[in-house]
């Protein structure tokens, strides 16, 4: 009996994953073909890469919030680290590695690794904390990163790298032939725009695949056991610290990758853009997409990032509409009557098929 059940679960997982991949590929094919026809409005073309960026962010945050069950309000901080390290790398090696593709690939890896290292470091204090205390520590880390990067000056000249946290002494240090990379509050301007939709989509696909594999692996089951009941998990010998570190590091790695992608799609960006509001925005995608649902995160990120852009039509009422829609969506989502109605509708739809309870992927 139990064997049968677990088999069924594996089958349903695989099926679920396949649906996720199919949705992703469908999204890609749709966007790609539309773009090829030349009929796609510039507004939408321009959104393609950001949509992938925010989807990656939502999926990776979902690993922390949904799978591990810890509330993080500092995800934008990891994105920020990825964006900065990636862009700095590209700017330094712009002439050394002329091949855009290789250079961008290296930038992605470096940005991701740096973010992962920070994720690992930040996770150490987090291990001791729970719930909102953890949330505030992640928020604090995000703000610290932002505050420091906002005053950093970094440039390269014939003597090598020059850095300072004071604009005036930095300007005095940099030689005539120097090139400024990070300019304090102005951030980084003029990074080679190496990102394109295909790379962005491949990265999103890899992120989703890695996340699904993680969830369905032994590690993933251990992590979810911690989420559902940490004491019980501990008693059966699951090393909580180890698994928390794994999830945090992986999530930060992908956030870093998203950051690199972001920074190579923009002529200018600065640390002020990665504040807690951005972290909360990503959290909104995760919650609306469904806690723990990778597919949901992608769909919610795409719809909700595009929403304010589509709302440009209503002009000054744009953000007001967005706010109202956010509230309405949350209320509709959690309304028992509507949910019951939908359930009975789905039951009819599925007829003889039993409704699986664990369809969370």
């Amino acid at each position: 009996m139990s064997l049968f059940k677990s088999n069924k679960k594996i089958v349903s997982n695989t099926k679920n994953n396949l649906i996720t991949y199919a949705i992703l590929l469908g999204f890609f094919a749709f966007a790609f073909i539309w773009a090829q026809t030349g009929e796609m409005p510039r507004k939408i073309q321009n959104l393609l890469i950001p949509l992938c960026v925010y989807s990656i962010l939502a999926v990776s945050l979902n690993l922390v919030v949904g799978v591990l069950g810890d509330l993080s309000l500092g995800h934008a901080g990891f994105m920020c680290i990825g964006a900065y390290t990636g862009a700095v790398f590209t700017n330094i090696f712009e002439t050394v590695i002329p091949n855009d593709f290789i250079r961008f690939g290296l930038a992605l890896i470096i940005g991701g690794l740096f973010a992962a290292i920070f994720g690992f470091i930040i996770c150490i204090p987090v291990l001791r904390l729970k719930g909102d205390y953890l949330a505030i520590v992640t928020l604090a880390f995000g703000e610290i990163i932002k505050n420091i990067l906002n005053i950093v000056y970094l440039g390269v000249d014939s003597e090598g790298l020059k850095a300072s946290i004071d604009g005036t002494s930095y300007n005095a240090m940099l030689l005539e032939d120097g090139k400024t990379i990070i300019k304090g509050a102005m951030g980084i301007t003029g990074t080679s725009r190496d990102a394109n939709f295909i790379i962005a989509f491949v990265l999103l696909f890899v992120t989703v695949m890695a996340s699904l594999n993680l969830i369905n692996s032994r590690t993933g089951r251990a992590v979810m056991a911690i989420r559902d009941n940490s004491i019980a998990a501990q008693t059966i010998g699951i090393n909580i610290s180890k698994y928390k570190l794994i999830v945090f590091t992986i999530a930060s790695f992908f956030a870093g990758i998203a950051g690199v992608l972001f920074s190579h799609n923009m002529n200018s960006f600065s640390a002020s853009g990665f504040d807690y509001n951005t972290s909360i925005l990503i959290l909104v995608y995760v919650v609306l997409g469904g806690i723990g649902s990778i597919r949901g995160s992608v769909i919610a990120a795409i719809l909700l990032y595009a929403l304010p852009e589509l709302l440009r039509e209503v002009g000054e009422y744009r953000m007001l509409f967005y706010a109202i829609l956010l509230i309405v969506m949350m209320i509709v989502n959690n309304n028992e009557k509507i949910n019951d109605m939908k359930k009975s509708f789905m039951m009819k739809f599925k007829k003889n098929k039993t409704v699986s309870e664990g369809g969370k992927n």
Binding site: D132, V287, M319, M330
Partner: protein, 293 residues
């Protein structure tokens, strides 16, 4: 002398954080939700007082009362419309709704009052007290802020511990189900909590804008997040914790600005916060939650 004036202005800023943090912590204690729209209620309160002050000839105290009443009603309305339908939902869903409410309030304020920064007329005059031959200057606003904050905190503590409604709030925060079984009207209690929290926010708005006299639709956002930090710092859900957290946050912020670096003050404040939470993982006065399987 520099130290003394730094501490005093720190306490003044901190007591405003504390008043806002009280609202956060009370709502959290009872509804188990982070009300991210709380900071924007401050802004609404300040705008109401500003309008009353500039458009009518009401005395300042009447303006404060008008603003407070409007905010109290607003707080209850927000609870009824946006949060009550989510009573059975996860706390994260409510958090997102609160963010929606926050955007809503900010953008409505911009559409109604315009985006331009307004100068708020300090409600308690522009005067100041000079000590030690002018080496330490304390404005009347600072003094009033500290006094009002302390009085409100004492009244609130008494209210919660001594009155029936206050004890009902405690009961609901301990165990909603059990409280209901004991005949406490949980919905009403939650509504009252929001009313009190919003009233405190309105008063905090009056004090904030009197001490730092500018007003714009985003005025409440930053103090709101600082107060949230303060509430967690002190131990979220704990009322004395919110007070201590708020005041400490204000003082640390000012000390780091004076003695370390103004550029890095954010990083320092948040760094200290992390260190304190490492030593005391549930905040300064937070309860240790024992987990059961």
């Amino acid at each position: 002398m520099e130290f003394l004036s730094t501490i005093i202005s720190g306490i003044s800023l901190g007591s405003i954080y504390a008043l806002i943090a009280l609202g956060y912590t009370m709502v959290y204690g009872i509804a188990k939700m982070l009300n991210f729209a709380h900071g924007d209620v401050i802004m609404v309160g300040a705008f109401m007082m500003f309008t009353a002050l500039t458009k009518t000839s009401l005395p300042p105290i009447a303006c404060i009362i008008v603003g407070t009443i409007i905010c109290t009603v607003l707080g209850m309305l927000i609870e009824k419309i946006a949060y009550k339908p989510l009573r059975s939902a996860t706390s994260l869903s409510v958090l997102i709704t609160a963010i929606g409410v926050s955007y809503f309030l900010q953008n409505s304020a911009q559409l109604i009052f315009g985006a331009g920064t307004k100068q708020f007329t300090p409600l308690f005059g522009n005067g100041s007290v000079s000590l030690f031959d002018g080496q330490v200057v304390i404005s009347h606003n600072t003094i009033v802020t500290i006094i009002i904050s302390v009085v409100l905190m004492i009244v609130l503590t008494l209210f919660i511990n001594k009155t029936k409604t206050g004890r009902a709030m405690l009961a609901v925060s301990e165990d909603k189900g059990a409280a209901q079984l004991m005949g406490i009207n949980v919905n009403k209690t939650i509504s009252i909590t929001f009313a009190i929290g919003s009233a405190l926010a309105a008063i905090a708005g009056a004090l904030l804008c009197s001490s730092y006299p500018i007003l714009s639709p985003t005025t409440g956002a930053m103090p709101g997040i600082k107060a949230f930090t303060a509430a967690v710092f002190g131990g979220i859900g704990s009322i004395p914790g919110a007070m201590i957290g708020g005041i400490l946050l204000g003082v640390i912020e000012n000390l780091s600005k004076v003695y370390i670096s103004t550029q890095l003050s954010d990083a320092i404040v948040f760094g200290i916060l992390i260190i304190i939470l490492l030593v005391k993982p549930t905040g300064i006065l937070g309860k240790k939650i024992s987990e059961k399987v």
